[in-house]
């Protein structure tokens, strides 16, 4: 599993946690902390450029 995939998993989990907290009427302070964590993970995701992923975007000329 790549670093990028780990970050993406953490991001998805955090978003689920946030949705659950909001649904449960959790205190704003807690929701705010999770929101900040999601923002940090989103930034990390954008910075974790996966070389293999980028290279997979190359396309072969078939003729």
């Amino acid at each position: 599993m790549t670093i990028l995939q780990i970050i993406q998993l953490a991001l998805a989990a955090s978003q689920s946690v946030l949705a659950g907290l909001q649904k449960s009427g959790a205190p704003e302070e807690i929701i705010s902390e999770i929101g900040a964590a999601i923002k940090g993970l989103t930034n990390a995701q954008d910075k974790a450029a996966n070389l293999a992923e980028l290279e997979s975007l190359r396309t072969e000329n078939l003729w």
Partner: protein, 131 residues
């Protein structure tokens, strides 16, 4: 698809000051373009293998070259190895994208050129037969 590319580029230009978002938007644009190119190759495979000089085949060939140029431009923008060999890809794995502001325009231009060629293909396949 070309509309999506145009919108993506427009968004990319709007968020130009946010380098991280620019990178992910560029990657999304490249992924969408790759999908369009692969679909076009599949559609015209037999025709173009038989005669690569046909206009639509040349458009697709230019799209492939433009796509690969844009990938290289993104790698350069992120200070990643450009067109690395498999061993380098394996050893480097995930690396932080460290944007080079001076390389941004080349990436924007490469993505715009790619979008233009994809649009050209769409016009052709829609019956417009671009010049």
């Amino acid at each position: 698809m070309s509309r999506f590319l145009a919108v993506s580029l427009f968004i990319a230009s709007l968020v130009g000051s946010c380098s991280d978002k620019f990178v992910s938007t560029s990657m999304e644009t490249l992924a969408a373009a790759q999908g369009a190119i692969v679909q076009a190759q599949s559609t015209h495979q037999a025709q173009c293998v038989a005669n690569p000089q046909v206009q639509v085949c040349q458009i697709i060939t230019r799209a492939v070259a433009s796509q690969n140029t844009a990938v290289s431009a993104l790698e350069a923008y992120c200070q990643l190895p450009v067109a690395p060999d498999p061993a380098t890809i394996q050893s480097k794995g995930t690396m932080p994208c460290t944007p080079v502001p001076t390389a941004k325009q080349a990436l924007v231009d490469a993505l715009a050129n790619l979008s233009t060629i994809i649009s050209e293909y769409k016009q052709y396949s829609a019956g417009g037969k671009s010049s």
